[in-house]
Symmetry: C2
């Protein structure tokens, strides 16, 4: 029997670009200098988007310095690089961070499905707090280190490029007095974009990031989205902004609002685009540059190409669960392998017992090159943004097994756009997996929608990478981008919503009613008095 | 004495690109066809922006048809052209329109300064109504003419490009079932952009178009802006949408909302940019393409170049009041000329009595080439968007004498951005004009700000013309741009503002309070009853 679908399996390690968001990374900043650059770095999947931008900046004659913490799980600052790495010290060990990450993953992937909302909320607050403590210790290593700050000041850098996932870059930019460009995937419930970036987000049609809602909401979903924004805002205010405000005020020596410093960012490079995002309004300094890391497929290694070609007309399915998943339980692995085995397969390497002959396992696969291969028929993924963007780029339909962070939300986007089917790792069966794969391959609409997204992705005035580089260089050339900053930043929340104006009108209306009533009663009184007088006279 | 400033005066006729918005033009539409085009045209200053786009489309292998009414004040459909003009009949005469235009100008330029708000509002409603009647008669010539509609249908056009200033293009696109791209400068109080385009515009920082406010508003200005939006919305609802809804319903044979048809536009090409506009949020299908018609300066005719060069280091000032101003009173002309004469000057041609020797009068001047001349020092203008954009393009500070329509509002933008001084035609003196010119020339900040705006204008990912053409072709390639359409279009106003959700929460809170009070009173009753019983027992 000719193999119908070939699977490329990687449980350990990630595909080329499916590194994932991790909760305790590093100060995700890159400070750039016109013709002489400097910066702070971002870790994991976020680095995948940052690196091509920095490389292009170097190509265009800039000097780039990347600030790296001594405890980094992913950055290899010893490998030859075209930018200068500037290390700074952090007081915690790599082990402490790894332990926390392990805990976060256990919560996100397994425990989350067995908790009620209250338990979930409380546990999440706990994790947020710990995460912020790590971030603050990173920040200590920069802003509270005289040596580090001296070096930064002496560097005379012209721009700071930063992923605000780890806070503090705005504080550093403020102290150095240089323009700031953010590169951001999202913040929880878009709290930062809404409150510090002034992105309008009416809860009626803009689903909060991580809410797993779409832009088409019925009444109950709109109620939930409203609650989601409110509850997350309260939580973030208490666990995040309060702590950060104190920290910033302490460093600056005057009462400082961290959100206000964040709002000073000249450009927000948002790492999505309308191929993935639900359409929504945005301020003019928000630039949507999703798919920065995407590139055409390169030819496969000879043996892999041979294996892929052996699939004949049926093509191949690519399977990766991202870099975070270093261990799936044996039970799960068997279940997945058995699901894959129900569609004729091949195999190579150390295998789960139930693995089919059509499946190959690799520690690392050239994910992008496989997705761009004419034989690619489907992509089974954990739903990290980078992997999804590679699938969009090449127009490949998706079977999503989302794990944590933005992955469930990401998959909701792809499902809503008709290019994906979602499975739950904890409850999925091998039959469910088989059916999901067959669905996205056999129902034409999935491929058509994936191709439509791909068309939207490619059909734009300039590529995501070019646009990101353009706005960074624009900020350098113009020493900021203040002309794109909406005046809403200067308003209080009640001014923004014109509540003071409405109050004023209400006061006038009430005053008019009051005057009207008083006048009436006065007239009535006069009338009565006259009548009485008349009566008296009549008597 | 060496002339310090040379003026180029044109009272009659316009500079190359200072044609103005006029109130009763034509159906401003262009229907485009992929490799075979067709369209409805736009008049006056609006045509200046449309024409380069159409010419570029023809350059790129499209066929363009322009729909032109039989009564057009500005279009010359007999001159050789690269697109096909398709005439349609209108039932009113050119004289009737000219008469109305004359009336509108008299109101806008002279009467407006001597009216109170109520008089102004009533008069404006009157003008709006007449204007709409002209528009509807244009529309009759297309949608109610069997011959015209048959031709349009047989043309099998792929896209309709239209300036919605004259309504009906959305109805035509809907009947033909083809994608629609709008090219719009603005609507009064941004009514169309807000209600039909779903552009968010919180009155707290987004001044309504024509309100003459900036984005920095104090409390009283915010009150005024709020009122401005509300009053204009009420007025437009009654004089515009009501009439149009009836017309559309009549043509379609089913109840039809004109605003809903307008909201189906795939792309809104807004003819401004952040060099001129106050920053504000916008939906993803709004593309800001201000300055489409701008181009580098060409060399001047020999005699003009000689005249310009004779100004020496002091350079020249360019003066035009646009195409609408065919007659300024002799008194005004003398006042202006005398103002200009107070700075040493030259002269040629039929002159007002007080004209100085440094001033030349032309029926027509190559405005763009003069503004782009290295010797250009200032631009005295009525403040039409096209002229302003030429000044921005070349970085020339402005003395504005705004007349009507968006001109006063335009000048407020330029003044706020520090590149202009404003004068009032009805109250200005020759000394005031002299001082204004001296101010923008001698205070460096005006030139610096003008150059900063010029830098913003030029420093964008692609030129305005390229971007406009890109999004038109995108809509053609993708048969629409529905992925950029915000879901807000499907919501009612109370859903959009989550008022139903808030009402639901309020109901819950009230219910809880009610239950709490009932429970308390029940408990108290029980308590009292028991105490009474105890008391009785004790007795």
């Amino acid at each position: 029997i000719r193999p119908r679908v070939v699977f490329l399996l990687t449980f350990r390690h990630h595909g080329s670009a499916s590194l994932c968001l991790h909760p305790a990374g590093t100060l995700c900043n890159i400070v750039c200098k016109w013709r002489k650059y400097f910066g702070v770095y971002t870790d994991g999947s976020h680095w995948i988007n940052m690196k091509p931008v920095l490389e292009t900046l170097v190509d265009r004659g800039h000097q780039v310095t990347v600030l790296t913490p001594s405890s980094s799980m992913y950055m290899n600052t010893n490998e030859p690089s075209r930018f200068h790495y500037e290390p700074f010290n952090v007081s915690f060990s790599l082990e402490a961070m790894e332990e926390f990450l392990e805990e976060f993953l256990r919560f996100s992937i397994y425990e989350i499905d067995y908790m009620n909302y209250l338990e979930l909320y409380i546990r999440f607050i706990d994790i947020m707090k710990t995460d912020l403590q790590f971030s603050i210790q990173y920040l200590d290593g920069v802003v509270k280190s005289e040596a580090a700050m001296k070096k930064l000041k002496e560097g005379k850098y012209d721009l700071l490029l930063a992923d605000p996932l780890y806070p503090g870059s705005d504080l550093v930019a403020d102290i150095l007095g240089i323009p700031l460009v953010f590169s951001l995937r999202f913040s929880l419930a878009n709290n930062w974009e809404r409150h510090c970036g002034q992105m309008p987000a009416p809860p009626s049609f803009v689903p909060g990031a991580m809410s797993k809602l779409t832009d088409k909401m019925d009444f109950s979903e709109r109620v939930w989205n409203f609650l989601f924004y409110t509850l997350q805002d309260i939580m973030i205010d208490h666990t995040f902004w309060n702590v950060l405000d104190r920290y910033y005020s302490d460093v600056k020596g005057t009462p400082t609002s961290a959100c206000e410093l964040m709002s000073k960012a000249d450009i927000w490079l948002i790492r999505t685009y309308w191929d993935f995002e639900f359409p929504r309004p945005f301020p003019p300094n928000f630039k949507y540059v999703g798919g920065i890391h995407c590139r055409p497929a390169k030819p496969l290694p000879e043996d892999l190409e041979e294996f892929v070609q052996s699939s004949g007309d049926d093509g191949i399915v690519i399977f990766t669960l991202g870099s975070m998943i270093n261990n799936v339980t044996k039970e799960k692995a068997n279940m997945i392998a058995s699901g894959l085995a129900q569609i004729p397969q091949k195999y190579r390497g150390e295998k789960p017992e139930t693995l089919g002959g059509n499946t190959k396992i690799y520690d690392w696969i050239p994910q992008n090159d496989l997705l761009g291969h004419p034989k690619a028929r489907a992509f089974i993924t954990h739903g990290g943004t980078n992997g999804i963007y590679e699938a969009i780029y090449h127009g490949v339909p998706i079977v999503g097994i989302p794990m944590f962070a933005d992955q469930p939300d990401n998959m909701v986007h792809m499902k809503e756009k008709g290019a994906a089917v979602i499975l739950n790792l904890n409850f999925m069966t091998s039959e469910g997996l088989r059916d999901a794969i067959n669905t996205v391959i056999n129902y034409k609409s999935y491929k058509e929608n994936a191709m439509q997204l791909s068309s939207i992705h490619h059909d734009r005035p300039m590529s995501a990478l070019e646009e990101a580089v353009f706005w960074i260089e624009f900020t350098l050339r113009n020493k900021g981008a203040k002309h794109l900053r909406v005046q809403a930043h200067e308003l209080t929340w009640y001014q923004y919503h014109s509540l003071d104006v409405l109050g004023f009108f209400l006061a006038i209306v009430l005053l008019l009613i009051f005057i009207f009533i008083k006048t009436c009663s006065f007239c009535l009184n006069r009338c009565c008095v006259r009548k009485e007088k008349k009566k008296r006279k009549a008597k």
